[in-house]
């Protein structure tokens, strides 16, 4: 693929448009990226897109940003990565800048305050529903370690006020790594 300004412009405009019109975060944007870059532009093979997705989902940070970095780098090197990051973060950046300029003024308005108060209850219900879905997925696997981690870390966050969550994440990551390697060794050990 020739790395000329047409390619860089395409990379920027595609990531910009994908980001501007995707509501619902990383799990939604990744399939749309596949559609754009694999099916439409043929910049990548399907298998490679799957690999990139696996890496994007394994790394911390927003999945859409991670996927954009990998894709941009693969297609256009460091400059490609920079442009696709920019394309991905510019739409939310611009929109939220405008929103937060008006937020303080709007918040004082009696009608807006009442509507936002109603929406507070709504968004709490949305998060509660997400937790039920995610927690249900963990419980349905009927494995003791994930269930124990879920219960244990919930108790710790409730009881230990002010504990940095990074410690919880670190301990759970180590538990997961140990369990995975132990399972692998058992599998290799048995004939």
């Amino acid at each position: 693929m020739k790395r000329d300004h047409t390619l860089y412009f395409r990379l920027f405009s595609s990531t910009f448009l994908l980001s501007a019109f995707t509501f619902g975060g990383g799990y939604v944007i990744v399939p749309l990226m596949k559609q754009k870059f694999v099916d439409q532009l043929h910049w990548l093979e399907e298998q490679e897109m799957l690999d990139l997705t696996a890496i994007a989902q394994s790394a911390p940070g927003p999945i859409a940003v991670n996927a954009a970095i990998l894709l941009g780098y693969r297609v256009g090197g460091p400059l490609g990565a920079a442009l696709s990051i920019l394309g991905t973060i510019l739409p939310p950046f611009l929109i939220l800048s405008v929103v937060s300029l008006f937020y303080t003024a709007f918040r004082e308005n009696r009608v807006v305050a009442a509507v936002l108060k109603g929406m507070q209850a709504g968004v709490s219900a949305v998060i509660a529903s997400v937790v039920v879905d995610m927690g249900g997925d963990i419980l349905r696997r009927r494995e003791w370690l994930p269930t124990a981690i879920m219960a244990g870390s919930f108790l710790v966050t409730l009881l230990w006020d002010g504990l940095n969550v990074a410690w919880i994440l670190l301990v759970c990551a180590l538990l997961g790594i140990t369990a995975t390697f132990a399972a692998q060794r058992r599998k290799e050990g048995s004939p």
Binding site: I89, P92, F93, L116, A121, S124, A125, A179
Partner: protein, 189 residues
């Protein structure tokens, strides 16, 4: 000074939010509400509501919003850069490992342990949101909760579970219904 604080707070949010979607929520709450008091819980709830209705990852939305509120456009840029920086480093590192060894066993093992912990952290952040909706920013108190909020919460939860409605529609519905109730019922809001 404030710019450096913004950068490092959002760096931590970017660095520790594994799993996408709502995983950043508990970290945003810790940094922005609990540690630095840049927003109170009601403002954070508004921010999450706005994030739901606009495109883009919640962490980027939060970085822009908080940055602008605290230090203007420059604050927004610094916070957003902080949020994206860990991704750049770690993704490059993982890509290198992946293409060299064709395996992500260690990181997938880490995720095996992280996913259930993230569910708990989101649950705990969600609990703070519910308490704020029911009792206000001061937190739980042994008094009667805001009954309109309780009604809207139960109704919205039921609609979400029963009909798998679009969350944005449910939130807008709560906004309209709640707006009418708070404005026209005396002694509320």
């Amino acid at each position: 000074m404030i710019l450096i604080q913004l950068f490092f707070s959002f760096l931590q949010i970017g660095l520790f939010s594994f799993g996408g979607g709502y995983a950043a929520l508990p970290l945003i709450q810790t940094q922005v509400v609990d540690v630095h008091h840049w927003l109170d819980m009601a403002e954070l709830t508004d921010l999450i509501t706005i994030s739901q209705m606009t495109p883009g990852p919640i962490a980027i939305n939060a970085a822009t919003f908080v940055g602008t509120q605290i230090a203007g456009p420059l604050g927004a840029i610094v916070a957003t850069l902080g949020c994206v920086f860990p991704s750049c480093v770690i993704v490059s590192l993982l890509a290198w490992v992946y293409y060299r060894y064709r395996s992500l066993t260690a990181i997938q093992g880490a995720l095996y342990g992280l996913r259930p912990a993230i569910v708990s952290l989101i649950a705990s952040a969600g609990l703070s949101l519910v308490i704020t909706a029911f009792w206000g920013t001061e937190g739980f108190a042994p008094v009667l909760p805001d009954l309109v909020a309780v009604g809207l919460f139960v109704g919205a939860f039921a609609v979400l579970r029963r009909w798998k409605c679009d969350p944005v529609v449910v939130m807008l519905g709560c906004g309209v219904l709640g707006g009418i109730l708070y404005l026209f019922l005396p002694g509320l809001g």
